[in-house]
Symmetry: C2
């Protein structure tokens, strides 16, 4: 049968051959599958979309490049037993969609460890402990930086309220806010002290994998506005806080249990090791999705549910419109590594510490206690993001690990220097991510290209957390985007 | 023989099969070619590199995705006779490398038409004519905007002198300059009036295909510093001026004559219709370059001479290091359309006009007289760039052309409303460009990723105007980059 296909292609030429090939009955394809909808990417967005479509009684196939599901959500089995989480792992208030999905597939949550004092390390190595119940939660009450933090967070929250999460580029001040970086705004509206700016880097490195100089102010305000839901406007505090914020809870068994469970429900609809390199909607026949050397999937509609920078690497026929292509050129992923030190016990708890730190000096500037729920062993997780990641990812492992452990020792004591295991994970080296946690938008992107974010192109629809209105960049946004894309497609089938 | 290859692949698996296949003698490949160096891209950079390598007595193959050479340099045959130029077309003082290459392949230059008055159209539609011999050349002496222009150009020139063109990120002020947009700096250091900011948009739309809000100040200063050569420091005036600047001259027969002549010299070394999708340097055998379904090229070294955003769409084995991959994610192409109106005569010359205009209102804000050298017919060429291009590329052709012609009529009189032919070209719709004229760097890119710009990755070397120290973004930079990459490779063969 493959030979027949080759013969037919040989008889025709160019686009005609492609069309004829695509129009062949599926049964004549050597390695082809067909469904109402083809979903590309088995992260939370793609899996959610597929689940919605299957539940609506339509056929669906999910093509995943990797040999696993979950995308930016990943459990990791430890050599010393147990697991850690290398990607998205926290959830909190107003993240109703990821939580509803988790509940539906039987995955519960437990509170992030948050008892005792947080640690702040400022300039000159001054170290402070403080209860994490200040008005700004995890933000340190250190007198050198606290006034600026209060000022900046209050102003940013206020400004974000005028940014519509579905069309941030229509905000009355969109032009003013999309022509400057967050760095510029912070220096103009606070003391701009070196210490305060170092704290803002610590925050954006962990939240965006980027520096304040890379972030459009408008995009930052959108991201804050998106840290909520239809009933509760977003706030920056909900974004960065533990108690009452996006880091409040964790998923039992690790966040990857959610996509794993959804994938289990989808069963044979999910095909692993299928890296899509081409999408052809040039004929009136089904859309053809090409994976590997030989595999073809045929669908009425396609949902692309992968990071925009990777969606831009797929070949499209006909080519995507220029605004869409250039949008994807303008959506680089942040740079984020996770450093996890595993200890026999969460020793910092006995010292009255939450395991949460904010520091002006890296490589690790933000940490969490990500020990298992039962505390049977201890895990300190630190983010190495933005500039720190770009510098440290190129250094020797030993040098980097020594510097990271020294950070942890400064924050939590010298016991931190002797972990029983170290796990490092750099999302920028992952071919099917090329960065984390989210696409980072520079000035001028939303205002000129934002309209293309969710706009379908023919029979291609776009999902992924970067397309979400609420909790953009988070697991909740991924789930929301999958639901929205599925609804779009179902309305058209 | 193809069957044999398939059989061998069938016996082995995965990487082993790939390595074995790559290591096969070239003669056993159904469609394979080998050479010392494989060059990807037959623009000026790739062709120059190949020419240098061939002249050094080494074998070289150039793989070009299109059915033509020249990249961003393109002649266009007019329906009414003659030709126009749709891409890079001007040259001027200190652009020694493109001019030397042109001379060597027998292509001369002639002066851009520059006799008479330029036109400036400011706010409220006020129209002025002025001789283009002001201290700032093509910059309008209009009293509303001239003081800000003088101030900004003077300051930017001064600042640019401390930016080393090979390592702009090592400038003493690099951090301060790479954390803000050009827009921010302009508003802080001039009156920031609406009129002046509109003029700066006109400039950056034509020069970068972008808005001042998208440009890192450091990148802008680098671009100015790069508008010169080893003996003559760059200046902004040399960048944007006609007399004494980058628009001073044109190439006889159109700029594409240069790559066409170089390609003719290279002969069968240049293979068209070979879109490369994979580069494999995972084995100790030759580097394997994959094009189309079946073609393979084998070389000791590879030079990638295509725009960075397209280089990022190639699959690499082993994968590129994260800093290199993320650099390419951070190098979107500008957005630039050329609008050319063809007239029986260059009627504006009789009215004492150069055909050059700067306007605060688009879609066309900058124009040139690009008539043939003999003036046998008239061509007004207008840039539609940046925000204007992103808006207007999505409107109906008729609406866009009417607006563009109205611009030309405002600048040069109502005769402009009746061209005998219109040519529009949008570089963003070109699959093998996806934008023009150059990659545009946002704040934070040079300082964190700049080190990866020219750093070879194993046996892969990088060319293209975006990698050039001088005349980055110009034809001269492309030629320079090809010479530099060829020298790198030749030293290692």
């Amino acid at each position: 049968m493959a030979k027949k296909g080759i013969t037919r292609r040989g008889l025709l030429g160019g686009a005609a051959a492609t069309a004829a090939f695509a129009a062949l009955p599926r049964s004549t394809q050597a390695a082809g599958r067909s469904a109402d909808v083809i979903v590309i990417g088995a992260g939370l967005a793609g899996l959610t979309a597929a689940r919605e479509i299957a539940q609506a009684g339509r056929s669906v196939i999910v093509l995943e490049a990797r040999n696993r599901v979950g995308g930016r959500v990943l459990n990791h089995a430890l050599g010393s037993g147990g697991y850690t989480e290398l990607g998205g792992m926290f959830t909190g208030p107003t993240q109703d969609h990821i939580q509803a999905l988790a509940t539906e597939v039987g995955i519960g949550t437990f509170p992030t460890y948050n008892t005792g004092n947080n640690v702040f390390v400022g300039g000159g190595g001054r170290r402070e402990e403080f209860p994490n119940n200040t008005p700004f939660g995890t933000a340190p009450p250190d007198p050198v930086v606290a006034p600026d933090i209060a000022l900046a967070v209050t102003l940013l929250d206020q400004m974000s309220q005028s940014v519509p999460v579905d069309t941030p580029w229509t905000s009355a001040s969109a032009e003013q806010w999309d022509r400057q970086t967050l760095d510029t705004w912070l220096r103009s509206n606070t003391s701009g002290s070196d210490e305060f700016m170092a704290v803002t880097s610590a925050a954006t490195e962990a939240i965006f994998g980027s520096e304040p100089r890379e972030l459009s102010l408008l995009y930052t305000l959108f991201y804050i506005a998106a840290s909520g839901n239809e009933q509760n406007p977003g706030t920056f505090e909900r974004n960065f806080n533990t108690a009452g914020g996006a880091q409040e809870s964790r998923f039992v068994g690790g966040a990857q249990m959610v996509p794993l469970q959804v994938a289990a429900q989808l069963g044979a609809r999910v095909l692993l090791n299928q890296p899509v390199h081409r999408i052809d909607q040039s004929s009136t026949g089904p859309v053809t999705v090409y994976s590997g050397r030989h595999f073809r999937a045929f669908g009425q509609r396609v949902i692309v549910a992968i990071p925009p920078t990777l969606a831009g690497r797929i070949e499209y026929d006909p080519p995507l419109p220029p605004l869409r292509d250039q949008l994807m050129q303008h959506m680089p992923q942040g740079t984020l590594m996770k450093f996890e030190a595993i200890y026999d016990t969460p020793f910092w708890r006995a010292a009255g510490l939450t395991g949460q730190a904010v520091s002006e000096t890296g490589p690790i500037k933000v940490t969490f206690d990500t020990s298992p729920a039962d505390g049977s062993f201890g895990v300190l997780m630190g983010f190495i993001g933005g500039h720190e990641a770009r510098v440290w990812e190129n250094r020797q492992e030993g040098e980097r690990q020594a510097a990271a452990l020294q950070n942890l020792a400064t924050y939590f004591g010298n016991q931190a220097l002797s972990p029983r295991e170290i796990v490092e994970f750099n999302w920028s080296t992952e071919v099917w991510n090329r960065g984390c946690p989210v696409a980072v938008l520079a000035p001028g992107t939303l205002i000129d290209f934002g309209a293309a974010l969710r706009e379908p192109v023919g029979r291609i629809h776009w999902a992924g957390t970067e397309t979400s209105t609420y909790w953009n960049g988070y697991m909740d946004g991924a789930v929301r985007s999958g639901e929205r894309a599925a609804a779009e497609v179902l309305a058209l089938l």
